[in-house]
Amino acid sequence: MLENSEQEPSEAENEEEQTDDVVRPETLSPEELEKLKEAVEDRKKLIQGLRGKPWPMKQKLVTLKESQQFVEKYEGALGKGKGRKFYAYKVMMTKKWMKFQRDFENFKTACIPWEMKIKEIESHFGSSVASYFLFLRWMYGINMILFGLTFGLVMVPEALMGRPYGSIPRKTVPRAEENSAMDFAVLWDFGGYAQYSVLFYGYYNNQRAIGWLKYRLPLSYFLVGVGTVAYSYMVVIRTMARNANEGGVGDDNSFNFSWKMFTSWDYLIGNPETADNKFASITTSFKEAILEEQESRKDDNIHLTRFLRVLANFLVLCCLAGSGYLIYFVVRRSQKFTLDGLENHSWWERNEVNMVMSLLGMFCPMLFDVISALENYHPRVALQWQLGRIFALFLGNLYTFIIALMDEINVKRDEEKIVKYNITMWEASLYNGTLSENSTAPPITVHPADVPRGPCWETMVGQEFVRLIISDTMTTYITLLIGDFLRAVLVRFLNYCWCWDLEAGFPSYSEFDVSGNVLGLIFNQGMIWMGAFYAPCLPALNVLRLHVSMYLQCWAVMCCNVPQERVFKASGSNNFYMAMLLVILFLSTLPAIYTIWKNRMFDVIQETLESDFPPWFGKVFSYASNPGLVLPFILLMVLAIYYLQSTSKSYKQANVELKKKLQTQNEENKKKNKKAALKAAMDLEEARKAASLSAEQRLHSRNIKT
């Protein structure tokens, strides 16, 4: 194609010279016109692909200028032919669009927060520690969007346009609690005024449309709830797909040594100490890999190893069961305490549940670490087992917590029924003394604070989640300060007056625990997803928490941590964490979906469809949601998945075949080359012999002549 374009300019240039520097497209035949257009398009593609070519800058600049001149000259000329106005317009719009895209890319990269911080961490600690902070920043982005949705579409309209505080019973602090409603202790516990505010579910009225905008608040609440879940799914799956594409599927062990050799150096390292660590770890990993290769056949007492591994798994199961039971027991105890009245108990007893859960989350992983010493796995495999166990621990704890909460919810709902019954009695008693039968009564005004009302279990659930998140955050920060900062201070300053070298031996500075921190982040997000429906304030709280975490952990890692000694990357782990996030998302939205289903909250959609939209819309919707239509659709999707799976398998197969073919082809080429080389050598020999023979003959004949 490039040859063609070389020809065209010369032809056209000839014409140019003939016609005084003006190219007349009318003089070119239609095919030549087409060829010219194609040549111009080719040049444009070349310009776009220039940055991906491994040429030195000078060559690229020259090619760029040449191609740009060519394109300008002939684009202008082409524009003079038929449809020139449209063509010129199209060209101009494409140019403007590309410029806009480039400016937008520049703007986007300038907007990314914390770029310098992360880059500094990368240069000191390498990319595995930095990957945690990149993950944190990504989570922050997701939570910002969730916060935007809940704040903008639910909390703000209610605050601005809903009935104000104090107008109806559910929005008012009950008379009995009024005295303590403003106390800091009560507010910190999210009771009092905080409870009866836009922060929690209970504040929102079921009035269909509020304010002068006729904003449909119940519908919006429901849709925002569904929307946050849908958005989270979409983002997680999209990231997983992107990682899978970049990563290269499967084949984890087929290029073990080559990868160690070609890809193990981290070019972001700018710190000599980190570089030394990296050298040491690379050497260790080479030596280990070589040893493993040699010893892979040795059996070495496999029965003992198997027995130890089974024992270790049994111990871990006992731990998990024990922690589950502990949580259940503690939640029941806290229910008893609330029945007695919270003032009679100490701070520990009031916050028992949250503290126990946070402490379990801190100590059990250490226990698992100790137990895994029995198992004698390769470090990468051991890490995966450890992560799996911590995952099971957190999941078990979360679900035990929810089940215990369910019991409380059921108790509260029974209470509500009783209270509703009592309200009718109470209302009747109000009218008792003042009326006779069969007369209409003027409505008696009662202050909303005096109306007896049942507990709102949704608000209670929201409160529990908020308290859990706050105590989890506090525990993390305090462990950080004590475990990392205090330890570093002690090691640094006590080292002067201690018998053994604190910095080199025990306890030394701590390393940054990437996997533990990432798991903590994932579970925190799971709790947010679970509770966001009942407490719209949760995403806001999480945004604040992540913001503070970023600064605190960046400071802590630069100040108190040392680079890791064993720097091996669990390379598939990027998608491993994403897969865990997806599972957590699924499991944490299950309870909310269950309660929505049970209380038929989605009736609000039905109602909106009936009253706000034209009738044909409702008909279409009812056809679409007919089970007879939905089931075949689901079947179709399952079949599509099966089809895609089988085509990907066949592609992998084709790859293997091609590789084999390449190998045999190369071997044949080598054989052919050898044969040809041999033949050429023989021919050369013969030619040489013939030449020397003829030289001899000539000499001989000359000798004879003289």
Binding site: R51, T109, G248, T274
Partner: protein, 189 residues
Amino acid sequence: MGTTASQLGKELLSEYQELTFLTKQEILLAHKRFTELLTKDEKDIPNVRIPMERILTLPELKSNPFRKRICLVFSTSEQKDGSLTFEDFLDLLSAFSDSATLEIKSHYAFRIFDFDDDGTLDFNDLQTLVNCLTGETDETRLTPEEMSQLINNILEESDIDKDGTVNLSEFQHVISRSPDFVSSFKIVL
């Protein structure tokens, strides 16, 4: 033409944006860091060339075991002494940037690892590579037996046509399946 000492022309800046994977801010930052390395007299010379020793004082390159090879590969000087002009420097940053494609990164990685510049990675290249990676001191180096076993393993894995060397396409094939390569082959100012 060429870069003047203090300012990059607007047109040149947009051309550089077109020809590299760097954003405008990154190019300007690179220009700033490059001019910081110049001495007072050099600041007025257009298309000035900085010798390799001064480039190697950059903190991003100082701890890199391949720093000399990187300079030699990206240098366009006729003496092949590893000196870089600003445009060579931009080429370097573009190949090591976040948005560079796998093809260009693997192409330059191959050239960096090809210590004898013969277009293939043979036994000696691989040996030098391993020695670079295991550090300077003797305790961290591999014994000759370990070394030969390692290199034989590598050739077994990557050398598809079994000619005893790894050429560019075999290298790119191995690298394209690695999940770590793109994220570790990065230098950011």
